[in-house]
């Protein structure tokens, strides 16, 4: 959103400046002609595009554009809708419609989670070296016993959950 707004500012400044310089030559080249990738399509975060949606107008559309230069109260409802459709490719309701894309995205995300899990499981079985001595169960048991003997965190932490009389965890 921010780059597009900044880019449009740059375009407008460049266009106006260059038109000002070339106006004496008669043919006003409209600054840098960017290809019509997105400047004619409104988006929810950029609802007023620079270019109108239809640029090649047939005869009756040209006549309608001429009529638009007059008083708008003379336009019929159908003509107003036609003018809107010339300027924008979708209404706000059409542009903001929901889609089911999120289901596809979440499905693919979970699929690759699962695939990665399978790969890591295979690696655990066939590739991982033996555990360091400090992570074996016997060492961890001795470590926990030493921590309880030292009364680590006796107020709210580890030793506060151990019952020293009954030699078991408090219920």
């Amino acid at each position: 959103m921010l780059p597009k707004a900044a880019w449009s500012l740059v375009l407008r400044k460049g266009g106006r400046g260059r038109r000002g310089m070339h106006s004496s030559e008669g043919t006003a080249c409209g600054g840098g002609k960017t290809p019509r990738y997105t400047n004619c399509y409104a988006q929810r975060h950029y609802p007023m595009p620079e270019e109108p949606f239809c640029t090649e107008l047939n005869a009756e559309q040209q006549a309608l554009k001429e009529k638009e230069k007059g008083s708008w109260t003379l336009l019929t409802h159908a003509e107003k809708v036609a003018l809107y459709r010339l300027q924008f490719n979708e209404t706000f309701a059409e542009m903001n419609r929901r889609s089911n894309e999120w289901k596809t995205v979440m499905g693919c995300v979970f699929f690759f989670f699962g695939f990665a899990a399978l790969v890591i499981w295979w690696q655990r079985v066939y590739m991982f070296p033996p555990k360091p001595i400090t992570l074996t169960d016997e060492w961890k048991a001795k470590q926990l016993q030493r921590m309880l003997d030292m009364k680590v965190n006796p107020v709210q932490g580890l030793a506060s959950h151990w019952d020293y009389e009954k030699k078991q965890w408090k219920k």
């Binding site: 030493r146 003997d149 030292m150 009364k151 107020v155 709210q156 506060s160 020293y164």
Partner: protein, 75 residues
């Protein structure tokens, strides 16, 4: 013109309405979270420490640790 005319939407005061709602909500939520923290965390912790140290005997604690054999300076 269109067969049915839609009601005119709210045109003014949109930011003010949004700010009013969100300021009030933010105020209430902040106070609520702060109160819950004070009761659930801070006061609970102070009570736990007070209860622990009320009848704490440091020498008895030291003797237990010495008997467990964790010290290098005294056995």
């Amino acid at each position: 013109m269109a067969p049915e005319v839609l009601p005119k939407p709210q045109m003014r005061g949109l930011l003010a309405r949004r700010l009013r709602f969100h300021m009030a909500t933010a105020f209430v939520l902040s106070l609520g979270v702060a109160a819950l923290y004070k009761v659930g965390v801070a006061d609970k912790r102070k009570k736990a420490y007070a209860d622990f140290y009320r009848n704490y005997d440091a020498m008895k604690d030291f003797e237990e640790m010495r008997k467990a054999g964790i010290f290098q300076s005294v056995k």
